[in-house]
């Protein structure tokens, strides 16, 4: 399985998920409504099959290039959406996570940035997989929290109650932040083995740290109960912008051209 087969799989995934979302709109008691689970699973299975196949054919874990991390993001965010849907019955969130996943898959289709099978020596380490996986999981949760933030802002400006929304965001930020912390510290421990120092203010490190600080700010802002909900919602929405700069923007920043994390050749 290579990126050449990718279009087939994303087409399958998108069709299945879009069907599932349409079925979600049908009356709850109808046969169609109960069928949506099947399509959710089929869509999920086809992207999983592709990911595993890619892993096998690359002969290395597919965690290196932007396209590969976007693939994983699609896998994790859709998984989170589906699990949360069955746990808490959040149809809007399900729709968001599936559409986000489809968007990321199509980004990969339009911009497949590499076909490179090689992995530079510094990346060949047992730290590699845990380092990237915890980050991607963290990103998936935090992306989700920022959507809740945006949704909360919408409610807020319509003059509606946002306390419940913020409490939900809190929990998701806590989990996402924990994974972000793991990613950051695993990275530090690995860097000590690979580059001789645990922290060198490499641009990617700097921006990962900034992302961490932004969510740290949110968590501390939420300690006091009677804090302005508007400010909290804005922090959570803007923190995701920092996260995106760390993830994608870094390749375009003039201050980051010497980064050890910019792998494009």
């Amino acid at each position: 399985m290579t990126w050449l087969e990718f279009p087939t799989y994303i087409l399958l995934t998108s069709v299945f998920w879009l069907l599932a979302l349409v079925l979600l709109l049908t009356p709850k008691r109808s046969v169609f409504h109960s069928l949506k689970g099947v399509f959710l699973f089929l869509g999920w299975a086809s992207i999983i099959v592709f990911t595993i196949g890619l892993w096998i054919s690359l002969e290395r874990p597919p965690f290196r290039t932007l396209a590969e991390t976007r693939l994983w993001y699609a896998v994790f965010i859709s998984t989170i959406g589906i699990v949360l849907y069955y746990r808490w019955r959040l149809p809007l969130m399900l729709a968001y996570t599936l559409l986000m996943a489809i968007l990321f898959l199509f980004l990969n289709y339009l911009n497949p940035d590499t076909f490179d099978k090689t992995l530079m020596p510094a990346l060949q380490s047992p730290w590699f997989i845990p380092h990237v996986i915890v980050y991607i999981i963290g990103y998936a949760f935090l992306g989700f929290s920022s959507l809740i933030g945006v949704y909360g802002l919408y409610l807020y400006y319509k003059g509606k109650e946002v306390d419940r929304t913020l409490l939900m965001a809190d929990n998701i930020v806590y989990i996402g932040f924990a994974f972000l912390t793991f990613g950051l510290l695993f990275g530090a421990l690995w860097a000590k083995e690979a580059w001789g120092h645990y922290w060198t203010w490499d641009p990617k490190e700097t921006w990962a740290f900034l992302t961490w600080l932004s969510y740290l700010l949110y968590i501390h802002f939420r300690i006091r109960k009677k804090q302005s909900p508007k400010t909290a919602l804005w922090i959570i929405a803007l923190a995701f912008v920092v996260l995106l700069i760390c993830w994608f923007g870094i390749n375009y920043l003039p201050s980051a051209q010497s980064s050890v994390h910019v792998y494009s050749s």
């Binding site: 090689t118 120092h197 802002f221």
Partner: protein, 419 residues
Amino acid sequence: MNKNIRDTKHKNKLWQFPWGYRESFLIAFFLLLSGFLIDLIDGGGVRMPAWPVNIAIIIIFIIYFILIHYLVKHPIVKWLSSTPAAIAAISTFTLMVLLLGFIPQTPSPADPSLLDSLGLTNVTSSWPYLMSALYLLVVLGFTIVRRFKSFTIKNIAFLLNHIGLWIVVVTASLGSSDMWRLSMGLETRHPSYTAFDSKGQGYNMGFGMILLDFNIEEYPPEVGLMHNRDHTLKLEKGGKLATVKEGTTDILDHYTLTFEKYIPFARKYGDNYDTTSIAGGARAVYIIAKDERNGNTAEGWVCDGSYAIPADYLILNKELSVAMTQLRPKKYSSDIRIYHSMDEYEDFYIEVNKPVTIDGWKIYQTGYDEPMGRWSETSIIELVRDPWLPVVYIGIFMILFGTLYLIWMGKGRIKTKKA
């Protein structure tokens, strides 16, 4: 609800206790301002003190937190561990790191610009950065001491995270001046005794090292279609490179490539390539390329070349050739002998990601003579000594365990609200 908060805020006059957000942010502003002023006037940046001054500072710091906390009953002490102070401190520190993230960190001391004078091209040794870090550490310190007084099991995660962070930030910055990072080039013929720091200052290590053997394990060679006009690879969307393996075929564009013969260490003899044991051998493959549109074939040798022999291409037509990509190392490693004295030596092996510790130095494989590639007779290593590392690691592991606990507990408040 929002309005109410604003109303209560305005009841207090500025600088009237208890201090809130306005005071916390104003203090942060003055700290930054004074930091920038010091940098503008002094221009030298911050130099972190080395052992034993740094350990003295840390001890004084800790005693100071505890004493002040217990002896001084002033509202300022209470403010120092308050949420507004924490928010202001985190924001200020974030602002400095943001500047660090946006401004290229390349100071030009010879011809300083305004950014240079403000310390912004070397943020981590600038005064405003130090001020923001101090603000953060002081607030963090008082918060920890206050929590310690009301110690419960539930507080464990909080204490692990906050103390861990304090330890990491303090020891990583104050310990940096005790750290040595030296680079050394090893050769096969002569032992090396001198290592160099990042400024090019040489140090006699007191031991000699000689390179016994340098090894590169490489990825299998790949060929691609190359434009004749500018020697760039033709990579289309969904396109790929073909991996060379003797006896196999692969398809690139409209061409079927058959790899007839592959020689990992080759030299050119006349029009032909043959295996060589002489240094400088390159990778060569004999390819038959068939154009599937018209059935035309072309065949010949393709070679990636080395410092000793030129690269070779297989010309398909006016526009395109088949070319081999440059050798990509999968991993590289060195066998090294270290001489403690004339007749006392020890052999060891290092590779990327697998450093060893010898005589208190952690030794890393960092590079080699790249133009020479697989024939490099030089291995570049880095020697690192960081006496503070164990303490930093204690901090890191405290945060890791605190974070695990955090995932387990979640944000406690929701449960109490539901109940």
